[in-house]
Amino acid sequence: MKVVGQGLPRVEILEKVTGQSVFGADVRLPGPILFGKILGSPHAHARIRSIDTSKAERLPGVKAVVTAQDLPPVRFGRFVRDEEYFARTKVRLVGDRIAAVAALDEETAEEALRLIKVDYEVLPQVTDALEAMRQGAPLIHEEYDQYHAISMMEGRKGNICYHKETVQGDIARGFQEADRIFEHRFYAPMVHQTYIEPHAVLARVDAAGKVTVWVPTQAQFFIRQSVAEIFQLPLIKVRVIPTEIGGGFGGKMLPTVEPAAVALARKSGMAVQIVMSRAEDFQVANPRHPCHMRYKTGVKLDGTIVAREVEVALGTGAYCGIGAVTSQRAEMLAAGPYRIPNVKIDVYCVYTNHANCGPYRAPAGPQLAFASESQIDIIARELDLDPVEIRLKNAIQEGDQTPACGGPLESVHAKETLLKAAEAAGWGAKPREKNRGRGIALGYWLVGGYASSAGVKLNEDGTVTVMTGVVDLSGTVTSLGQIVAEVLGIELDDVHVRTADSDFAPHSTISAGSQALRSMGTATKMAAEEVKKQIMELAADKLEAETSDLVVEGKRIYVRGSIEKGLSLGQVAQLSLMHERGPIVSIQSSSHFPNQPAFSAHVTDVEVDPETGGVKILRYVAAQDVGTAINPLSVTGQIQGSVMQGLGQALSEACVFANGKMRNPTFLDYKIFSSLDAPRVEVHLVEQAAGDGPFGAKGIGEPSIIPVPAAVANAVRDAVGVTIFDLPLSAERVRMAMREKITQR
């Protein structure tokens, strides 16, 4: 392969390094743009007695004030319709939307918010999933059983938004067969994606009532659907134009500020921009689910796992959001990438008075792997087994099924990935210095893929344009260009590929779930192949040769063996316009993809400061099963960034709340890794072309964050002999554990 497999710079990179890229808050239009602001509830749980906006409306400079009265009475939600965009009768989280204003300048908009008077009856709140499940806990949705839900929403009761039991084998018999049984409880708190670009939107409504929304989103068709649903508009009346997106990590898929901007634009007749402050973004923009986990594992003395029982309680926040998907992910991942004959998994998705948690890079993945992989290490230590050995002994193999995975798994490279990481890190020769330790963890993710369609067209000069609506987060669009160039025997520079908007792009999957390249790449490759076929047919006709004798190479098509007898792609394109065939173009679709596993194994060396408990990452090795790396520069960069995000979750990040209000909504107090904290992440790719992805590529983005907290926790245990059951492994927590030597709970 000539273009696939090359670490080429991203196609949009020059716009980015020169500051020309247009992100969410950078959109400018002719005419004035109003500043929009959203009024959020100061209470985590309260009944609304009345809302008075009259003073705000009279403030000079205010052009529109909107509340629930300005929207159709629609409850929305992808799984259960439990959310109203503006609260009508009740607020369920700090920041629940009450009203929005648009004004000529920001200060006036802020002043108008202060003039809106809301009379609340404050209700008892519940912010923890386990407490919310108890008898007598305050009910967050009193009419929950009357809400419309899709059929997968099982086990709805009280504050339990969803509950499902997944069983494999016979769990009671499994524990009877076990020589040793281990049981531990773990907790992972809420953490935030903290893309550097806060949520932002610009909305305009034209004279015919058509809504246009410029927004940095990972899922333009989701946003179009949501806006259409909330405003009860046909889809052709909503146009979503995705801007460059300054990081998403799952956090920019569900509607946040978009409907408010649309409501204000409709009411004022002017363009309205809303940009969240960092504090607002922290408080309300769909963070990672906090997660209680109980793991009970039965093993034989040789380390064979015979039974595993897992209970997971996810705090999904005030609304279900994407909690049902996170729960399903938890069902699939809870037992770990291991062959276990007897498994029982209970996942509870529970309403709390917090922000509705959303998708964040491998939803549920790092939390469950932290618990599961910490416990595997505890077991290895108790049975005097090597951590690599016990994992190799139990790792899943080709054709195995894990609970809820949907069928025999193909392209299973758990062992290769584990061995690659161990070898690269020099596993046998561990650091022996005092307070230093090494940890390993294995993670996996099941990558599916929604339907996608893409178009490829041959331009009159032989260059090629790709039509796709997939949003570029991590180099997907560049990889699509490489796929097309490879199929057509041209260079990436001969291909134009950028994201088109919802009016003009064929339906595209989301840039999330590690699926963009698998799904969109497949559709794009099919379209390129069809274009190639059309080129061949036309050329065969003109060159009086069989298509099987033609070669496409170097922007030319010629008869094999006589290179001078040929046509340039430009000539073919010109001929197609005069030929009865017409322009050469193809739009192809790919359908749903079955779950495909992708593995990541990480080894890290740490040093613990015995005085402070501070953990320093000395070395970080990440091996990942990537199938074929279409663009190794993108793949490696994505893994490095993902590890760094995981290190924050492992060591320093947690959303801290008091009465439902986040107490640390700044980068000073919510500590993500800076360049001074960052180790150099050594990436090792396990490349074995896999099943149905384009050129054998697998999903990349999520597997790489899953083992991080576990690998760090295991290294800390190795260094100082303490097991930490709660994330993050902050200096304070490690120091306390060292002092008390808590090793069991």
Binding site: P9, L14, T18, G19, P60, I196, E197, G247, G637, S674
Partner: protein
């Protein structure tokens, strides 16, 4: 609302500007809203993320923390003035080649911080490069490729 506007004279990327601004306007808002120079980004508005980094009279500053009027009479360099006239600065070239920009949102600020470093220290060590971007948060790359780009650009110059 009816506050007294102040007259501001600044030189930005070699161009002279004379504008009336509100005394409460930050330098960042002045650049982005009054002048439409949207290359400089806002990530937090509190001087914690570095996305709004610009060079003000030879100092690297968070433009969200500076009032526009404080910049009166001074020279400002923003990302729009780096590698002008269609010619890329070695840092821009290196950021592109090394994969040092992914989403690209921190990139303008990151390049200004890196440029400030190279303006003062033409051949930095990896540690000095890490130190130079310590005030600029990136959530995509893990920083390694950014350091590679800075060192590569230093060699190029």
């Amino acid at each position: 609302m009816a506050e007294m506007k102040k007259r501001l004279r600044v030189t930005i990327n070699g161009e002279r500007y004379e504008k009336e601004v509100s005394p409460a306007t930050s330098l960042l808002d002045f650049l982005r809203t009054d002048l439409n120079l949207t290359g400089t980004k806002e990530g937090c508005g509190e001087g914690e993320c570095g996305a709004c980094s610009v060079i003000l009279d030879g100092r690297l500053v968070d433009s969200c923390l500076i009032l526009a009027v404080e910049a009166d009479g001074q020279e400002i360099q923003t990302i729009e003035g780096v590698g002008r006239h269609g010619r890329l600065h070695p840092l821009q070239k290196a950021f592109a080649e090394k994969g040092a920009a992914q989403c690209g949102y921190c990139t303008p600020g990151m390049i200004m911080a890196a440029k400030y470093l190279l303006d003062h220290n033409p051949s930095p060590t990896p540690e000095q490069a890490l130190e130079a971007i310590a005030g600029n948060l990136c959530r995509c790359t893990g920083y390694g490729s950014i350091v590679d780009a800075i060192l590569s650009a230093a060699k190029e110059r």
